[in-house]
Symmetry: C2
Subunit: 307 residues, 2 copies
């Protein structure tokens, strides 16, 4: 049975509740190591009016603080980062096979002066490796070529060499037989009538396929029909040129089920694809654990494939 390091996320949000409520299922699939001090666990469980399961294995980390439900605080930010660091450490030391992260709050990280915007860029910097952002579920995975940058800057990144290298890195992690690649402009440029970037995308695809000796990458696809029923029956993996090109259809189709995967060559890390949901945290409402359970399953799948 695989061991997973669970980064507990922002304790002022819904993460701990999800971890406690899903534990009974999780423990049938893997051995979870929860990166949280017992004192903090007890405090949180009390606020949630929940019993702590006997076999809930805690790995101490961070400094104790008073949980303030639904508030992005400096202390909750610092704790969430400490938990994430511990999870990375466990995985690097081979005490865990992969990391699953519960949601952090970006504002709390800022307050705690954590020098990262989120898990993905923290991981890339700490491990000193390229990290590719993939989001989705087994039915549809989106791989983002650019993500949290202004829309008007996307075009600057659409060059043949940069994109070709990205495509090859994607396939190095995925090892699948076919991957869809979206165009950039309306109608994928209508043969150069609407913008020029789609020609660069086409060239990058051709060069990547040539380097692989197989037609793995298909495109540039016309963006607005890429996610129709027929096409999603043919493809599971879609490389998208910008954040909303991929995340609009993903969240439109599979909002609750989606997870976030950091593709890199050092550590397997999956995550829920939702936030801290401060609006319902510690309010007696049961949050959905679908994304968390999918993140666990995907981490196990990926660590199986890697062995």
């Amino acid at each position: 049975m695989k061991t997973l390091a669970i980064s507990i996320g922002d304790l002022n949000g819904i993460g701990l509740q999800i971890a406690l409520e899903a534990h009974a299922i999780i423990k049938t699939k893997c051995k979870p190591l929860y990166c949280i001090k017992e004192t903090m666990l007890t405090q949180g469980a009390l606020l949630l009016n929940k019993e702590v399961p006997q076999d809930f294995t805690c790995i101490p980390c961070g400094k104790d603080f008073k949980i303030k439900p639904s508030m992005p605080t400096k202390k909750s930010g610092a704790y969430a980062f400490a938990s994430f660091q511990k999870a990375i450490e466990l995985t690097q030391n081979a005490q865990a096979d992969a990391i699953v992260t519960l949601p952090i709050n970006k504002e709390a990280w800022q307050k705690a002066k954590v020098p990262y915007k989120g898990h993905t860029d923290a991981l890339a910097d700490i491990l000193n490796t390229q990290t590719i952002m993939m989001l989705g579920c087994q039915k549809l995975f989106i791989i983002l070529y650019t993500h949290h940058i202004p829309m008007k800057d996307v075009s600057k990144h659409l060059h043949v060499k940069e994109l070709q290298a990205f495509l090859l890195a994607v396939q190095e992690h995925l090892h699948v037989s076919k991957i869809a690649v979206l165009g950039y402009n309306p109608h994928a440029g209508d043969n150069g009538v609407i913008g020029h970037e789609d020609k660069a995308i086409k060239k990058a695809i051709q060069k990547a396929n040539k380097a692989l000796g197989a037609d793995v990458f298909n495109g540039p696809m016309v963006p607005d029909t890429a996610f129709t029923y027929n096409n999603t029956q043919n493809y599971t993996y879609f490389v998208c040129m910008y954040h909303d090109q991929g995340l609009i259809p993903l969240k439109t189709l599979y909002f609750e089920e989606s997870i976030n995967v950091s593709l890199n060559d050092k550590i397997i890390r999956t995550s829920v694809d939702h936030g801290t949901a401060y609006d319902i945290a510690y309010k007696g409402i049961t949050p959905s654990s679908v994304s968390y359970l999918n993140a666990i399953d995907e981490a196990l799948l990926l660590s199986d494939a890697n062995k």
Copy 2:
């Protein structure tokens, strides 16, 4: 009973077949005037191996030519344009209440030297009026602020005054109680952290609402969660900043059902939201008429609302 002028579209494509097959249903809803010469109708029906219904009212237009199934020809382009012109004429002369257009082929229009890219810009020029492009179905309508322009130029149009005027023009045509307006950047800019355009969108919304004396426009919404189930239960009309922001979710959810509506202050025009489908034209395959029937229904709805 209302009268609709049917622009027959490219006769080398699937339009005529759809018109013939749907006629039995259409005639129960309205009085259709088909803008096609009887000689051309007979030629097409023969190729399709179909009988021409007795009550299929033809309005002559254009020059006879030999139908070449699945080919974008100069003559098919010229005929499609002549049919469209006739439909406009009938509506302007009050012989018809609205126009419904079957698909044309843009390449054929180019070959025929028709000086327009498509119906929407032809209509705007011929009627000398602003024409707003709305696509969708009764469950979800997308209103495009920009459409067939390169993605890297979208940002240049996101200015308060221009957008505010657009929003007010939209509401002048729709008269509804609430309309969603999408942001532009990932996470609608995350409070200015990712790009600056979303602030202009916010201001334009505020000014438009102030001018209307009611909070009709809501946004800027985070684009990637705008089309989740909960939000589409709350809104039917979505103003989108660029082509694929609106058409990706629309075609992902309602590919077959969608129609195209030209909002303007002179003529009601709806259209199918698919192409000439040369791949199946005159091949004994029955094309879906869902989009055509929806276009008929919407034209009738809009002409009722206008009277």
